[in-house]
Symmetry: C2
Subunit: 313 residues, 2 copies
Protein backbone atom coordinates (compact mmCIF):
# COMPACT_ATOMS: atom_id res chain seq x y z
CA UNK A 1 0.00 0.00 0.00
CA UNK A 2 1.49 3.32 -1.00
CA UNK A 3 0.79 6.80 0.30
CA UNK A 4 2.01 8.86 3.22
CA UNK A 5 1.53 8.81 6.96
CA UNK A 6 -0.69 11.85 6.59
CA UNK A 7 -2.99 10.08 4.14
CA UNK A 8 -3.37 6.96 6.27
CA UNK A 9 -4.08 8.91 9.44
CA UNK A 10 -3.20 8.33 13.06
CA UNK A 11 -5.66 5.55 13.85
CA UNK A 12 -4.97 3.80 10.55
CA UNK A 13 -1.26 3.85 11.27
CA UNK A 14 -1.76 2.51 14.77
CA UNK A 15 -3.86 -0.35 13.36
CA UNK A 16 -1.13 -1.19 10.84
CA UNK A 17 1.69 -1.02 13.37
CA UNK A 18 -0.08 -3.11 16.00
CA UNK A 19 -1.56 -5.69 13.61
CA UNK A 20 0.80 -8.47 14.67
CA UNK A 21 1.11 -7.47 18.32
CA UNK A 22 -0.37 -9.69 21.00
CA UNK A 23 -0.59 -9.80 24.76
CA UNK A 24 0.28 -12.87 26.81
CA UNK A 25 3.01 -13.88 29.23
CA UNK A 26 3.65 -11.00 31.61
CA UNK A 27 1.48 -8.68 29.48
CA UNK A 28 -1.92 -8.52 31.15
CA UNK A 29 -3.12 -5.77 28.82
CA UNK A 30 -1.33 -4.80 25.62
CA UNK A 31 -1.81 -2.01 23.11
CA UNK A 32 -5.15 -0.26 22.69
CA UNK A 33 -6.07 1.23 26.05
CA UNK A 34 -4.82 4.26 27.97
CA UNK A 35 -1.92 2.22 29.30
CA UNK A 36 -0.54 -1.28 29.07
CA UNK A 37 -0.51 -3.43 32.19
CA UNK A 38 2.34 -5.82 33.00
CA UNK A 39 2.73 -8.37 35.77
CA UNK A 40 6.30 -8.58 37.06
CA UNK A 41 7.95 -11.10 39.35
CA UNK A 42 10.22 -8.56 41.00
CA UNK A 43 11.31 -4.95 40.88
CA UNK A 44 10.87 -2.94 37.67
CA UNK A 45 13.84 -1.64 35.67
CA UNK A 46 12.93 1.22 33.34
CA UNK A 47 15.02 3.21 30.89
CA UNK A 48 14.36 5.41 27.87
CA UNK A 49 16.37 6.27 24.75
CA UNK A 50 15.74 8.77 21.98
CA UNK A 51 17.04 8.62 18.40
CA UNK A 52 16.83 11.64 16.11
CA UNK A 53 17.08 11.73 12.32
CA UNK A 54 20.37 13.24 11.13
CA UNK A 55 21.76 13.00 14.67
CA UNK A 56 21.62 9.25 15.37
CA UNK A 57 20.77 8.01 11.89
CA UNK A 58 20.30 9.15 8.32
CA UNK A 59 17.57 7.84 6.10
CA UNK A 60 20.14 7.58 3.28
CA UNK A 61 22.32 5.26 5.38
CA UNK A 62 19.74 3.28 7.34
CA UNK A 63 16.50 1.70 6.19
CA UNK A 64 13.33 2.08 8.24
CA UNK A 65 13.69 -1.46 9.57
CA UNK A 66 17.18 -0.62 10.78
CA UNK A 67 15.87 2.42 12.65
CA UNK A 68 13.10 0.41 14.31
CA UNK A 69 15.49 -2.36 15.29
CA UNK A 70 18.13 0.02 16.64
CA UNK A 71 15.62 1.93 18.78
CA UNK A 72 14.50 -1.27 20.49
CA UNK A 73 18.02 -2.67 20.80
CA UNK A 74 19.48 0.47 22.37
CA UNK A 75 16.91 0.69 25.14
CA UNK A 76 16.71 -3.03 25.85
CA UNK A 77 20.49 -2.98 26.36
CA UNK A 78 19.96 -0.63 29.30
CA UNK A 79 17.68 -3.13 31.03
CA UNK A 80 20.21 -5.88 30.30
CA UNK A 81 22.87 -3.73 31.95
CA UNK A 82 20.91 -3.79 35.24
CA UNK A 83 20.69 -7.58 35.16
CA UNK A 84 16.95 -7.40 34.51
CA UNK A 85 14.97 -9.66 32.21
CA UNK A 86 13.63 -7.28 29.53
CA UNK A 87 9.86 -7.73 29.25
CA UNK A 88 8.34 -5.04 27.11
CA UNK A 89 8.88 -1.76 25.28
CA UNK A 90 6.77 1.27 24.41
CA UNK A 91 7.83 3.18 21.31
CA UNK A 92 6.98 6.77 20.34
CA UNK A 93 7.37 7.79 16.69
CA UNK A 94 7.27 11.45 15.63
CA UNK A 95 7.59 12.02 11.87
CA UNK A 96 6.67 14.34 9.03
CA UNK A 97 3.16 13.86 7.66
CA UNK A 98 4.67 13.17 4.22
CA UNK A 99 6.64 10.18 5.50
CA UNK A 100 5.93 7.32 3.07
CA UNK A 101 3.70 4.59 4.42
CA UNK A 102 6.37 2.11 3.33
CA UNK A 103 8.78 3.77 5.74
CA UNK A 104 6.31 3.41 8.62
CA UNK A 105 5.61 -0.22 7.73
CA UNK A 106 9.34 -0.94 7.54
CA UNK A 107 9.94 0.78 10.86
CA UNK A 108 7.15 -1.21 12.51
CA UNK A 109 8.53 -4.46 11.07
CA UNK A 110 11.96 -3.59 12.44
CA UNK A 111 10.54 -2.87 15.89
CA UNK A 112 8.74 -6.20 15.86
CA UNK A 113 11.76 -8.13 14.60
CA UNK A 114 14.04 -6.73 17.28
CA UNK A 115 11.38 -7.28 19.96
CA UNK A 116 11.29 -10.92 18.91
CA UNK A 117 15.08 -11.17 19.04
CA UNK A 118 15.18 -9.51 22.46
CA UNK A 119 12.28 -11.52 23.84
CA UNK A 120 10.18 -8.46 24.64
CA UNK A 121 6.72 -7.31 23.59
CA UNK A 122 5.61 -4.00 22.14
CA UNK A 123 2.89 -2.86 24.54
CA UNK A 124 2.26 0.75 23.63
CA UNK A 125 3.45 3.96 22.06
CA UNK A 126 2.51 7.27 20.54
CA UNK A 127 2.39 8.67 17.01
CA UNK A 128 2.62 12.33 16.12
CA UNK A 129 3.76 14.70 13.42
CA UNK A 130 7.13 16.45 13.57
CA UNK A 131 9.57 18.18 11.23
CA UNK A 132 11.94 15.22 11.41
CA UNK A 133 11.84 11.65 12.66
CA UNK A 134 12.30 11.28 16.42
CA UNK A 135 11.98 7.85 18.02
CA UNK A 136 11.80 7.31 21.77
CA UNK A 137 11.77 3.76 23.12
CA UNK A 138 11.27 2.88 26.76
CA UNK A 139 12.07 -0.58 28.11
CA UNK A 140 10.47 -2.34 31.06
CA UNK A 141 12.56 -5.05 32.69
CA UNK A 142 11.88 -7.46 35.53
CA UNK A 143 14.59 -7.77 38.20
CA UNK A 144 12.85 -10.98 39.26
CA UNK A 145 14.40 -11.31 42.70
CA UNK A 146 17.91 -10.13 41.80
CA UNK A 147 19.22 -6.77 42.98
CA UNK A 148 20.06 -4.35 40.16
CA UNK A 149 23.67 -4.43 39.02
CA UNK A 150 24.56 -0.74 39.24
CA UNK A 151 27.62 1.21 38.14
CA UNK A 152 28.65 1.62 41.76
CA UNK A 153 29.43 -1.96 42.74
CA UNK A 154 32.93 -2.53 41.31
CA UNK A 155 35.46 -3.62 43.94
CA UNK A 156 39.28 -3.86 43.79
CA UNK A 157 40.38 -7.34 42.86
CA UNK A 158 37.54 -7.96 40.42
CA UNK A 159 38.15 -8.69 36.77
CA UNK A 160 36.68 -6.53 34.00
CA UNK A 161 35.06 -8.43 31.14
CA UNK A 162 32.78 -7.68 28.21
CA UNK A 163 30.45 -9.55 25.89
CA UNK A 164 29.20 -8.40 22.50
CA UNK A 165 31.00 -6.15 20.06
CA UNK A 166 33.23 -3.12 20.55
CA UNK A 167 33.90 -0.48 17.91
CA UNK A 168 32.05 -2.05 15.00
CA UNK A 169 29.36 0.61 14.75
CA UNK A 170 31.98 3.37 15.07
CA UNK A 171 34.02 1.86 12.25
CA UNK A 172 30.86 1.70 10.16
CA UNK A 173 30.01 5.31 10.88
CA UNK A 174 33.58 6.30 9.98
CA UNK A 175 33.36 4.80 6.50
CA UNK A 176 29.81 6.05 5.87
CA UNK A 177 30.84 9.55 6.90
CA UNK A 178 33.58 9.44 4.27
CA UNK A 179 31.19 8.31 1.57
CA UNK A 180 32.02 4.59 1.48
CA UNK A 181 29.72 1.64 2.02
CA UNK A 182 32.27 -1.04 2.87
CA UNK A 183 33.39 -3.11 4.66
CA UNK A 184 29.78 -4.25 4.77
CA UNK A 185 30.08 -5.87 8.20
CA UNK A 186 30.80 -2.60 9.99
CA UNK A 187 28.20 -0.65 7.98
CA UNK A 188 25.60 -3.21 9.02
CA UNK A 189 26.81 -2.87 12.61
CA UNK A 190 26.25 0.88 12.47
CA UNK A 191 22.72 0.35 11.23
CA UNK A 192 21.72 -2.23 13.86
CA UNK A 193 23.75 -3.19 16.93
CA UNK A 194 24.10 -6.84 17.87
CA UNK A 195 23.14 -6.63 21.52
CA UNK A 196 24.15 -9.73 23.50
CA UNK A 197 20.60 -10.38 24.71
CA UNK A 198 20.35 -12.46 27.85
CA UNK A 199 23.95 -11.91 28.89
CA UNK A 200 23.02 -9.16 31.35
CA UNK A 201 20.91 -11.59 33.30
CA UNK A 202 23.67 -14.19 33.15
CA UNK A 203 26.11 -11.62 34.54
CA UNK A 204 23.73 -10.73 37.37
CA UNK A 205 23.30 -14.40 38.23
CA UNK A 206 27.10 -14.76 38.22
CA UNK A 207 27.27 -12.04 40.86
CA UNK A 208 28.60 -9.17 38.74
CA UNK A 209 29.73 -6.26 40.90
CA UNK A 210 29.06 -3.46 38.42
CA UNK A 211 27.75 -3.44 34.86
CA UNK A 212 27.04 -0.97 32.06
CA UNK A 213 26.20 -1.20 28.38
CA UNK A 214 28.70 0.45 26.07
CA UNK A 215 26.80 3.25 24.37
CA UNK A 216 29.21 6.19 24.78
CA UNK A 217 32.41 4.19 24.26
CA UNK A 218 34.27 1.68 26.42
CA UNK A 219 36.59 4.21 28.09
CA UNK A 220 33.75 6.65 28.76
CA UNK A 221 31.41 3.98 30.09
CA UNK A 222 34.05 2.29 32.24
CA UNK A 223 34.81 5.81 33.44
CA UNK A 224 31.22 5.97 34.74
CA UNK A 225 31.82 2.74 36.67
CA UNK A 226 35.17 3.99 38.01
CA UNK A 227 33.58 7.23 39.20
CA UNK A 228 30.47 5.64 40.70
CA UNK A 229 32.43 2.84 42.38
CA UNK A 230 35.42 4.95 43.46
CA UNK A 231 37.93 2.59 41.86
CA UNK A 232 40.59 2.54 39.18
CA UNK A 233 40.19 0.29 36.18
CA UNK A 234 43.29 -1.01 34.37
CA UNK A 235 42.83 -2.42 30.89
CA UNK A 236 45.32 -4.59 29.02
CA UNK A 237 45.45 -3.73 25.32
CA UNK A 238 46.75 -7.20 24.44
CA UNK A 239 43.42 -8.65 25.59
CA UNK A 240 41.53 -6.98 22.74
CA UNK A 241 41.13 -8.83 19.49
CA UNK A 242 40.97 -6.47 16.53
CA UNK A 243 38.55 -7.74 13.92
CA UNK A 244 39.71 -7.75 10.31
CA UNK A 245 37.12 -5.18 9.12
CA UNK A 246 38.29 -2.76 11.83
CA UNK A 247 41.89 -3.15 10.69
CA UNK A 248 40.78 -2.52 7.11
CA UNK A 249 38.88 0.62 8.08
CA UNK A 250 41.74 1.99 10.17
CA UNK A 251 44.17 1.40 7.29
CA UNK A 252 41.81 2.94 4.74
CA UNK A 253 41.32 6.01 6.92
CA UNK A 254 45.01 6.78 7.24
CA UNK A 255 46.55 4.16 9.42
CA UNK A 256 45.29 5.05 12.90
CA UNK A 257 45.30 2.43 15.65
CA UNK A 258 42.22 0.23 15.12
CA UNK A 259 42.16 -0.38 18.88
CA UNK A 260 40.79 3.15 19.17
CA UNK A 261 37.50 2.02 17.63
CA UNK A 262 37.14 -0.51 20.42
CA UNK A 263 38.14 1.90 23.17
CA UNK A 264 35.99 4.86 22.10
CA UNK A 265 33.31 3.58 19.74
CA UNK A 266 29.79 3.60 21.11
CA UNK A 267 26.49 2.22 19.86
CA UNK A 268 27.37 -1.48 19.73
CA UNK A 269 25.83 -1.92 23.18
CA UNK A 270 28.26 -4.52 24.38
CA UNK A 271 27.90 -5.25 28.09
CA UNK A 272 30.93 -4.69 30.32
CA UNK A 273 30.94 -5.84 33.92
CA UNK A 274 33.16 -6.65 36.87
CA UNK A 275 33.33 -10.14 38.34
CA UNK A 276 35.11 -11.90 41.17
CA UNK A 277 37.90 -14.12 39.85
CA UNK A 278 36.55 -17.48 38.82
CA UNK A 279 33.08 -16.08 38.21
CA UNK A 280 33.41 -14.63 34.71
CA UNK A 281 30.63 -16.20 32.61
CA UNK A 282 31.48 -18.26 29.57
CA UNK A 283 31.71 -16.18 26.40
CA UNK A 284 32.82 -13.00 28.19
CA UNK A 285 36.31 -11.66 27.41
CA UNK A 286 38.48 -10.48 30.30
CA UNK A 287 40.15 -7.17 29.38
CA UNK A 288 41.41 -5.84 32.68
CA UNK A 289 40.95 -5.54 36.39
CA UNK A 290 39.67 -3.28 39.13
CA UNK A 291 42.27 -1.80 41.49
CA UNK A 292 42.21 0.64 44.38
CA UNK A 293 43.00 4.22 43.49
CA UNK A 294 41.54 7.50 42.33
CA UNK A 295 38.81 6.92 39.75
CA UNK A 296 40.35 6.54 36.30
CA UNK A 297 40.54 4.14 33.39
CA UNK A 298 44.07 3.23 32.30
CA UNK A 299 45.24 1.27 29.27
CA UNK A 300 48.57 -0.52 29.77
CA UNK A 301 49.19 1.62 32.82
CA UNK A 302 48.57 5.04 31.31
CA UNK A 303 45.64 7.35 30.63
CA UNK A 304 45.07 6.93 26.89
CA UNK A 305 45.45 10.06 24.78
CA UNK A 306 42.46 9.58 22.53
CA UNK A 307 39.01 11.07 22.30
CA UNK A 308 36.78 9.78 25.02
CA UNK A 309 33.44 8.76 23.66
CA UNK A 310 30.30 10.46 22.49
CA UNK A 311 28.28 13.16 24.12
CA UNK A 312 25.50 15.22 22.64
CA UNK A 313 25.61 19.04 22.52
CA UNK B 1 23.40 31.22 34.34
CA UNK B 2 23.09 32.13 30.67
CA UNK B 3 24.26 30.26 27.59
CA UNK B 4 22.84 27.49 25.46
CA UNK B 5 22.30 23.77 25.84
CA UNK B 6 25.20 23.24 23.46
CA UNK B 7 27.54 25.26 25.65
CA UNK B 8 26.58 23.48 28.88
CA UNK B 9 26.88 20.02 27.34
CA UNK B 10 24.95 16.81 27.89
CA UNK B 11 26.38 15.80 31.24
CA UNK B 12 26.19 19.36 32.56
CA UNK B 13 22.54 19.55 31.58
CA UNK B 14 21.76 16.22 33.19
CA UNK B 15 23.40 17.40 36.42
CA UNK B 16 21.31 20.59 36.38
CA UNK B 17 18.06 18.82 35.61
CA UNK B 18 18.50 16.11 38.21
CA UNK B 19 19.88 18.37 40.97
CA UNK B 20 16.72 18.25 43.06
CA UNK B 21 15.70 14.70 42.22
CA UNK B 22 15.83 12.01 44.88
CA UNK B 23 15.00 8.35 45.28
CA UNK B 24 12.88 6.97 48.12
CA UNK B 25 9.47 5.42 48.48
CA UNK B 26 8.95 2.93 45.67
CA UNK B 27 12.08 4.18 43.90
CA UNK B 28 14.85 1.74 44.74
CA UNK B 29 17.27 3.35 42.28
CA UNK B 30 16.67 6.76 40.69
CA UNK B 31 18.46 8.72 38.00
CA UNK B 32 22.11 8.12 37.19
CA UNK B 33 22.45 4.48 36.19
CA UNK B 34 21.50 2.56 33.02
CA UNK B 35 17.94 2.22 34.29
CA UNK B 36 15.88 3.19 37.30
CA UNK B 37 14.51 0.45 39.53
CA UNK B 38 11.05 0.66 41.12
CA UNK B 39 9.31 -1.61 43.61
CA UNK B 40 5.60 -1.98 42.93
CA UNK B 41 2.85 -3.47 45.03
CA UNK B 42 0.89 -4.80 42.08
CA UNK B 43 0.79 -4.86 38.32
CA UNK B 44 2.55 -2.13 36.32
CA UNK B 45 0.62 0.36 34.19
CA UNK B 46 2.79 2.05 31.54
CA UNK B 47 1.96 4.67 28.94
CA UNK B 48 3.91 7.16 26.84
CA UNK B 49 3.09 10.56 25.32
CA UNK B 50 5.03 12.77 22.93
CA UNK B 51 4.73 16.54 22.53
CA UNK B 52 6.28 18.33 19.55
CA UNK B 53 7.07 22.02 19.21
CA UNK B 54 4.66 23.78 16.83
CA UNK B 55 2.37 20.74 16.86
CA UNK B 56 1.41 20.49 20.54
CA UNK B 57 2.81 23.78 21.79
CA UNK B 58 4.47 26.96 20.62
CA UNK B 59 7.30 28.61 22.47
CA UNK B 60 5.58 31.96 21.90
CA UNK B 61 2.42 30.74 23.67
CA UNK B 62 3.83 28.48 26.36
CA UNK B 63 6.79 29.00 28.67
CA UNK B 64 9.29 26.20 29.28
CA UNK B 65 7.76 25.43 32.66
CA UNK B 66 4.36 25.01 31.00
CA UNK B 67 5.83 22.54 28.51
CA UNK B 68 7.49 20.50 31.26
CA UNK B 69 4.33 20.48 33.35
CA UNK B 70 2.08 19.53 30.42
CA UNK B 71 4.32 16.64 29.38
CA UNK B 72 4.14 15.10 32.84
CA UNK B 73 0.43 15.82 33.27
CA UNK B 74 -0.60 14.29 29.95
CA UNK B 75 1.13 10.97 30.55
CA UNK B 76 0.21 10.70 34.24
CA UNK B 77 -3.44 11.11 33.22
CA UNK B 78 -3.15 7.86 31.25
CA UNK B 79 -2.09 5.95 34.35
CA UNK B 80 -4.92 7.59 36.29
CA UNK B 81 -7.32 6.39 33.60
CA UNK B 82 -6.37 2.76 34.35
CA UNK B 83 -7.08 3.24 38.04
CA UNK B 84 -3.37 2.92 38.85
CA UNK B 85 -1.46 4.94 41.40
CA UNK B 86 1.09 6.90 39.32
CA UNK B 87 4.56 6.32 40.75
CA UNK B 88 7.22 7.70 38.44
CA UNK B 89 8.00 9.19 35.05
CA UNK B 90 10.92 9.14 32.65
CA UNK B 91 11.23 12.16 30.36
CA UNK B 92 13.14 12.46 27.09
CA UNK B 93 14.00 15.94 25.81
CA UNK B 94 15.26 16.49 22.26
CA UNK B 95 16.09 20.11 21.43
CA UNK B 96 18.27 22.36 19.27
CA UNK B 97 21.79 22.89 20.58
CA UNK B 98 21.13 26.63 20.66
CA UNK B 99 18.22 26.26 23.09
CA UNK B 100 18.84 28.76 25.90
CA UNK B 101 19.91 27.25 29.19
CA UNK B 102 17.10 29.23 30.82
CA UNK B 103 14.61 27.30 28.71
CA UNK B 104 16.07 23.98 29.86
CA UNK B 105 16.07 25.10 33.49
CA UNK B 106 12.48 26.28 33.19
CA UNK B 107 11.45 23.03 31.56
CA UNK B 108 13.12 21.00 34.30
CA UNK B 109 11.44 23.10 36.99
CA UNK B 110 8.08 22.51 35.31
CA UNK B 111 8.67 18.76 35.18
CA UNK B 112 9.55 18.76 38.86
CA UNK B 113 6.59 20.92 39.86
CA UNK B 114 4.09 18.74 38.05
CA UNK B 115 5.73 15.57 39.41
CA UNK B 116 5.22 16.99 42.91
CA UNK B 117 1.58 17.82 42.14
CA UNK B 118 0.97 14.36 40.70
CA UNK B 119 2.84 12.56 43.48
CA UNK B 120 5.32 10.92 41.11
CA UNK B 121 9.10 10.95 40.87
CA UNK B 122 11.32 11.69 37.90
CA UNK B 123 13.50 8.59 37.66
CA UNK B 124 15.21 8.87 34.29
CA UNK B 125 15.30 10.28 30.82
CA UNK B 126 17.37 11.12 27.80
CA UNK B 127 18.77 14.30 26.30
CA UNK B 128 19.68 14.78 22.66
CA UNK B 129 19.91 17.38 19.94
CA UNK B 130 17.14 17.85 17.37
CA UNK B 131 15.91 20.48 14.94
CA UNK B 132 12.92 21.25 17.16
CA UNK B 133 11.83 20.44 20.69
CA UNK B 134 10.32 16.98 21.13
CA UNK B 135 9.37 15.77 24.60
CA UNK B 136 8.40 12.17 25.36
CA UNK B 137 7.21 11.31 28.85
CA UNK B 138 6.48 7.78 30.03
CA UNK B 139 4.54 7.09 33.22
CA UNK B 140 4.83 4.07 35.49
CA UNK B 141 1.79 3.33 37.64
CA UNK B 142 1.07 0.73 40.29
CA UNK B 143 -2.23 -1.15 40.02
CA UNK B 144 -1.69 -2.22 43.62
CA UNK B 145 -4.12 -5.10 43.72
CA UNK B 146 -6.87 -3.53 41.60
CA UNK B 147 -7.59 -4.75 38.08
CA UNK B 148 -7.03 -2.12 35.38
CA UNK B 149 -10.13 -0.13 34.44
CA UNK B 150 -10.12 -0.56 30.67
CA UNK B 151 -12.22 1.00 27.92
CA UNK B 152 -14.06 -2.28 27.45
CA UNK B 153 -15.90 -2.60 30.75
CA UNK B 154 -18.93 -0.31 30.29
CA UNK B 155 -22.27 -2.08 30.81
CA UNK B 156 -25.84 -0.98 30.05
CA UNK B 157 -27.46 0.63 33.07
CA UNK B 158 -24.28 2.34 34.27
CA UNK B 159 -24.05 6.10 34.62
CA UNK B 160 -21.43 8.13 32.76
CA UNK B 161 -19.61 10.72 34.87
CA UNK B 162 -16.53 12.89 34.60
CA UNK B 163 -14.19 14.77 36.88
CA UNK B 164 -11.85 17.58 35.92
CA UNK B 165 -12.32 20.09 33.13
CA UNK B 166 -13.81 19.81 29.65
CA UNK B 167 -13.09 22.19 26.81
CA UNK B 168 -10.99 24.74 28.66
CA UNK B 169 -7.75 24.00 26.77
CA UNK B 170 -9.62 24.01 23.45
CA UNK B 171 -11.13 27.39 24.21
CA UNK B 172 -7.66 28.65 25.09
CA UNK B 173 -6.19 27.31 21.87
CA UNK B 174 -9.03 28.93 19.93
CA UNK B 175 -8.27 32.40 21.24
CA UNK B 176 -4.48 31.99 20.94
CA UNK B 177 -4.89 30.84 17.34
CA UNK B 178 -6.76 34.05 16.59
CA UNK B 179 -4.08 36.20 18.16
CA UNK B 180 -5.73 36.94 21.52
CA UNK B 181 -4.45 36.21 25.01
CA UNK B 182 -7.68 36.34 26.96
CA UNK B 183 -9.72 35.13 28.76
CA UNK B 184 -6.64 34.30 30.83
CA UNK B 185 -8.22 31.24 32.49
CA UNK B 186 -8.59 29.32 29.23
CA UNK B 187 -5.17 30.39 27.95
CA UNK B 188 -3.62 29.06 31.15
CA UNK B 189 -5.65 25.86 30.70
CA UNK B 190 -4.18 25.41 27.22
CA UNK B 191 -0.68 25.79 28.61
CA UNK B 192 -1.08 23.35 31.50
CA UNK B 193 -4.02 21.00 32.04
CA UNK B 194 -5.48 20.63 35.52
CA UNK B 195 -5.51 16.85 35.76
CA UNK B 196 -7.73 15.55 38.60
CA UNK B 197 -4.90 13.62 40.22
CA UNK B 198 -5.99 10.78 42.47
CA UNK B 199 -9.50 10.59 41.04
CA UNK B 200 -8.63 7.66 38.76
CA UNK B 201 -7.75 5.56 41.76
CA UNK B 202 -10.91 6.69 43.53
CA UNK B 203 -12.95 5.63 40.49
CA UNK B 204 -11.27 2.22 40.41
CA UNK B 205 -11.97 1.74 44.10
CA UNK B 206 -15.61 2.71 43.44
CA UNK B 207 -15.83 -0.12 40.93
CA UNK B 208 -15.80 1.91 37.72
CA UNK B 209 -16.73 -0.23 34.71
CA UNK B 210 -14.77 1.65 32.06
CA UNK B 211 -12.59 4.75 32.19
CA UNK B 212 -10.58 6.97 29.84
CA UNK B 213 -8.88 10.33 30.09
CA UNK B 214 -10.19 12.97 27.72
CA UNK B 215 -7.30 13.81 25.43
CA UNK B 216 -8.95 13.64 21.99
CA UNK B 217 -12.28 15.18 23.07
CA UNK B 218 -15.20 13.85 25.11
CA UNK B 219 -17.19 12.50 22.15
CA UNK B 220 -14.17 10.87 20.57
CA UNK B 221 -12.95 9.34 23.83
CA UNK B 222 -16.40 8.12 24.88
CA UNK B 223 -16.58 6.72 21.36
CA UNK B 224 -13.55 4.58 22.21
CA UNK B 225 -15.39 3.26 25.27
CA UNK B 226 -18.58 2.65 23.26
CA UNK B 227 -16.64 0.72 20.61
CA UNK B 228 -14.51 -1.29 23.04
CA UNK B 229 -17.46 -2.10 25.31
CA UNK B 230 -20.04 -2.66 22.56
CA UNK B 231 -22.51 -0.22 24.09
CA UNK B 232 -24.31 3.02 23.28
CA UNK B 233 -23.67 6.08 25.40
CA UNK B 234 -26.38 8.72 25.74
CA UNK B 235 -25.36 12.13 27.03
CA UNK B 236 -27.70 14.80 28.38
CA UNK B 237 -26.64 18.30 27.32
CA UNK B 238 -28.44 19.89 30.26
CA UNK B 239 -25.99 18.15 32.59
CA UNK B 240 -23.06 20.21 31.33
CA UNK B 241 -22.27 23.46 33.03
CA UNK B 242 -20.75 25.97 30.63
CA UNK B 243 -18.13 28.06 32.37
CA UNK B 244 -18.23 31.82 31.87
CA UNK B 245 -14.87 32.00 30.02
CA UNK B 246 -16.11 29.39 27.53
CA UNK B 247 -19.26 31.43 26.89
CA UNK B 248 -17.12 34.51 26.39
CA UNK B 249 -14.85 32.73 23.92
CA UNK B 250 -17.74 31.26 21.95
CA UNK B 251 -19.39 34.71 21.74
CA UNK B 252 -16.14 36.38 20.72
CA UNK B 253 -15.54 33.80 18.01
CA UNK B 254 -18.87 34.34 16.32
CA UNK B 255 -21.55 32.91 18.57
CA UNK B 256 -21.06 29.15 18.22
CA UNK B 257 -22.42 26.81 20.87
CA UNK B 258 -19.95 26.84 23.78
CA UNK B 259 -21.01 23.27 24.60
CA UNK B 260 -18.98 22.23 21.57
CA UNK B 261 -15.78 23.06 23.44
CA UNK B 262 -16.80 20.58 26.13
CA UNK B 263 -17.87 17.90 23.69
CA UNK B 264 -14.89 18.05 21.35
CA UNK B 265 -12.05 19.81 23.15
CA UNK B 266 -9.12 17.62 24.13
CA UNK B 267 -6.06 18.19 26.27
CA UNK B 268 -7.73 18.99 29.59
CA UNK B 269 -7.31 15.35 30.61
CA UNK B 270 -10.52 15.09 32.54
CA UNK B 271 -11.36 11.53 33.54
CA UNK B 272 -14.64 10.05 32.32
CA UNK B 273 -15.89 6.73 33.60
CA UNK B 274 -18.95 4.53 33.98
CA UNK B 275 -20.35 3.56 37.37
CA UNK B 276 -23.18 1.51 38.74
CA UNK B 277 -25.95 3.73 40.05
CA UNK B 278 -25.22 4.80 43.60
CA UNK B 279 -21.49 4.35 43.13
CA UNK B 280 -20.52 7.63 41.47
CA UNK B 281 -17.75 9.15 43.61
CA UNK B 282 -18.22 12.55 45.21
CA UNK B 283 -17.10 15.38 42.97
CA UNK B 284 -17.84 13.56 39.71
CA UNK B 285 -20.58 15.00 37.46
CA UNK B 286 -23.08 12.61 35.90
CA UNK B 287 -23.60 13.51 32.24
CA UNK B 288 -25.35 10.47 30.79
CA UNK B 289 -25.85 6.75 30.83
CA UNK B 290 -24.83 3.53 29.14
CA UNK B 291 -27.52 1.73 27.16
CA UNK B 292 -27.66 -1.37 24.98
CA UNK B 293 -27.30 -0.75 21.26
CA UNK B 294 -24.85 -0.38 18.43
CA UNK B 295 -21.75 1.51 19.57
CA UNK B 296 -22.35 5.26 19.35
CA UNK B 297 -22.31 8.38 21.45
CA UNK B 298 -25.55 10.40 21.35
CA UNK B 299 -26.30 13.84 22.76
CA UNK B 300 -29.95 14.40 23.64
CA UNK B 301 -30.85 11.35 21.58
CA UNK B 302 -29.05 12.23 18.37
CA UNK B 303 -25.58 11.90 16.89
CA UNK B 304 -24.14 15.40 17.25
CA UNK B 305 -23.15 17.14 14.01
CA UNK B 306 -19.88 18.61 15.15
CA UNK B 307 -16.24 17.83 14.58
CA UNK B 308 -15.19 14.82 16.54
CA UNK B 309 -11.94 15.45 18.35
CA UNK B 310 -8.29 15.57 17.48
CA UNK B 311 -6.17 13.19 15.50
CA UNK B 312 -2.68 13.68 14.18
CA UNK B 313 -1.88 13.32 10.48
Amino acid sequence: MSGTAGEIGEFGLIARITAGVSAGGPVRLGVGDDAAVLRLGGDLAVSTDTMVENVHFRRSWSGPGDVGRKAVAACVADAEAMGAVPIAVVVSLAMPADTPTEWVDGFAAGVQLECDRAGVRLVGGDLTTAAEIVVTATVLGDQGGLAPVTRAGARPGELVAFVGRLGWAAAGLAVLTRGFRSPGAVVVAHRVPEVPYGEGRIAAEAGAGAMIDVSDGLLADLGHIAQASGVRIELNSAAFEIAEPQQAVAAALGGGDPLNFQLTGGDDHALVATFARGHVPEGWTVIGEVVAGDPAVLVDGAVPEIDGGWTHF
